[in-house]
Amino acid sequence: MNTVTKGEPADTGSASKPRQREPAAPVTPVVSYRNVKKSYGDLEVLHGIDLDIAAGEKIALIGPSGSGKTTLGRMLMTLEEPTSGIIEVEGEPLWQIERNGKLVRANEHHLHRMRSKIGMVFQHFNLFPHMRVLRNVTEAPRKVLGIGKEEAHDRAVEMLCKVGLEDKLDVYPSKLSGGQKQRVAIARALVMRPKIMVFDEVTSALDPELVGEVLSVIKEIAEEGEMAMMLITHEMDFARDVADRVIFGADGRIVETGPPQELFGQPKSDRLKSFLSRFV
Amino acid sequence: MWDWSYAASILPRLLSALQVTFVATAWSFVLACTLGLVLAVLSRSRFVVIRLTVNGVSEFIRRTPLLVQIFFLFYSIPLLTGISLSALATGIIGLGLHYSTYMSQVYRSGIEGIDKGQWEAAKALNFTPVRTWSAIILPQAVPPILPIMGNYLIVIFKETPLLAAITVVELLTTAKNINARDWRPFEPYTIVGVLFLLISLAVAFLAGWLENRIKHRYSR
């Protein structure tokens, strides 16, 4: 297990950032992976990951495809179950519950409760094609959070304004460009007010000219501060701009981690050097 | 309730009636496959009139009940033409004709699955239409659709009891006759039901096996 970085303070390297945070108080991280492994059959794709994400922290996961970045995010969103290890969300195990002093596999009730703290934006948007844009955003607040029609509407419109789509409320997703779809998907996840949001290669399926509009929306949200973000991305400039901390993973391990200017400026490992050389 | 010895006593008669069912199934299937191919080829004809006629007639046959078609053939054809066929032959023609319209759609899906380049290659090699179809198109179009054709074999088999309506003494008619003699519907109808079920499941199993074999061969 050559993973590093446990409990590193959230604001390392944020001195150069426009936003300032309080010096790290001994608070529980919003998410913490402890020796998390994942195998498909005989193939182990994650070899024991340890990683803490502080409340409000923005981390970027970079690395070659197949390094297990996406799996890390999907396990947090409860879409894939870790083979072993513990993922804690606000100090509470995500995939396990305690019963008679022992941790046992969580039931759906527990997962449902835990999921309310987590949001996700997908590579392929996954908008609901049978609902108009507004309903895509209001459906979950109304049916999952049980919020009244009007409040859900107001919240949804607010979010859609934030992503610049207030004029598309009554349109079906099929009529939107890829960039617009992804912005709706961001609004849809944001309206649930999660503590941490996973952005899983959200620009990888977009035409190059549409990448910018999505990234700038995410950057704006990041600057508002209070929500933690896990940005799984291939956009190095974006990672440098937005992340408080960058994590470079390869072959199912975390290889190097640090503030962006350090990681991109003075990469230590050969893996990272050769990886970054491809983006110059 | 269930009388095993009675069931055993009527089983030989039912099994021998199965022969007629098999004959009807086999010939109807052959007819459906042949005529279906003709319809499929004609529906790609260059001539609009042929295309429209073939598609229109096929659609009409597909949207009307087989039973009524069989009645039509059995009762009106002799009146209209003076030709009188046996009930079994009429039934086979009815079944074959009905399912040829379904089979032609199966062929068409197979033909449409062929890369356009194959037609162009055939044209470039100056093949005649007959040679194009027989040497290039059909050898590629048919193997992938064999499992679906197998399913239609089952469908036709399960439809043969309809021939009871025009006095063909197949399995169901035999069961009816036994019931009329002994007034015991339980055993004959149950045996017939089980026979149909077992045979169609067996053929379905075979078709599935065939499908796997074909997938294997073509995914190399």
Binding site: M77, T78, L79, H112, R115, S116, I118, G119, M120, F122, H124, N126, L127, F128, P129, H130, E139, A140, K143, V144, Y172, S174, A185, R188, A189 | F60, R62, R63, T64, P65, L66, L67, V68, Q69, F71, F72, Y75, S76, L79, K158, P161, L162, A164, A165, L172, A175, K176, N179, R184, P185, F186, Y189, T190, V192, G193, F196, L197, S200, L201, A204
Partner: protein, 217 residues
């Protein structure tokens, strides 16, 4: 000739009503069973999946006419007396429900995995995922094959002639015995009537499809 056709009308009209009634009732039964069995087939509970599997295997493998005979002639022998109408609706509904279940199952499976995941990420319960997100999308995929199935079902109602329910086919057979020289005309008319019913079903299904997909695709 016109006067002949007019003489036939009352009887054919009665038959038409029976055919439509049996078609409608069997279609309802078949669709309910199809959705129920199709969903059970995808259930997390193994016994429920198994039950649906056995049902679909049996009732797709059986011959409808034999099933109809069994329900109508054998069940009374076992102490279950059904009216002709109930026997017809039950047999047709069970048979076509099994085929419909396969359509429902495969349409649900054809909904992209991302839709399930997005619904889960938004924390919908598993029932909400199915009802609000997946099923409405599967429904659109189901409509064309269900349309064909309903036409097949309508055609299959002609088999109720065998248990002497007085449907279109039955009435035509009566007319034939009264007007033997016009046999071809009677059956021709009968075929046209079935064709018209099938075309109306198809038209309605397509209108429904268009309504459900309006603006979306």
């Amino acid at each position: 000739m016109i006067s002949k056709w007019l003489e036939w009308m009352p009887l054919m009209w009665e038959g038409l009503l029976i055919t439509l009634e049996v078609t409608f009732l069997s279609a309802i039964v078949a669709l309910i069973i199809a959705v129920a069995a199709g969903l059970c087939r995808l259930s997390r509970l193994q016994w429920l999946r198994g039950l649906a599997y056995v049902y679909m295997l049996l009732f797709r493998g059986v011959s409808l006419l034999v099933l109809l005979f069994w329900v109508y002639f054998v069940l009374p022998f076992l102490g279950i007396e059904l009216s002709k109408l109930a026997a017809a609706v039950l047999a047709i509904g069970l048979n076509y429900g099994a085929f419909g279940a396969e359509i429902v199952r495969s349409s649900i499976l054809a909904v992209p995995k991302g839709q399930w995941e997005a619904a889960q990420a938004l924390n919908f319960t598993s029932a909400q995922r199915m009802i609000r997100v997946v099923f409405p999308q599967a429904l659109i995929r189901m409509l064309p094959p269900l349309n064909n199935l309903m036409i097949e079902l309508m055609k299959a109602t002609s088999l109720i002639y065998f248990i002497t329910l007085t449907d279109l086919t039955y009435q035509a057979m009566i007319l034939r015995s009264l007007y033997l020289p016009q046999t071809a005309q009677i059956f021709g008319l009968l075929l046209v009537l079935y064709f018209v019913i099938a075309s109306v079903i198809s038209l309605l299904a397509r209108m429904l499809e268009r309504k459900l997909t309006a603006g979306r695709m």
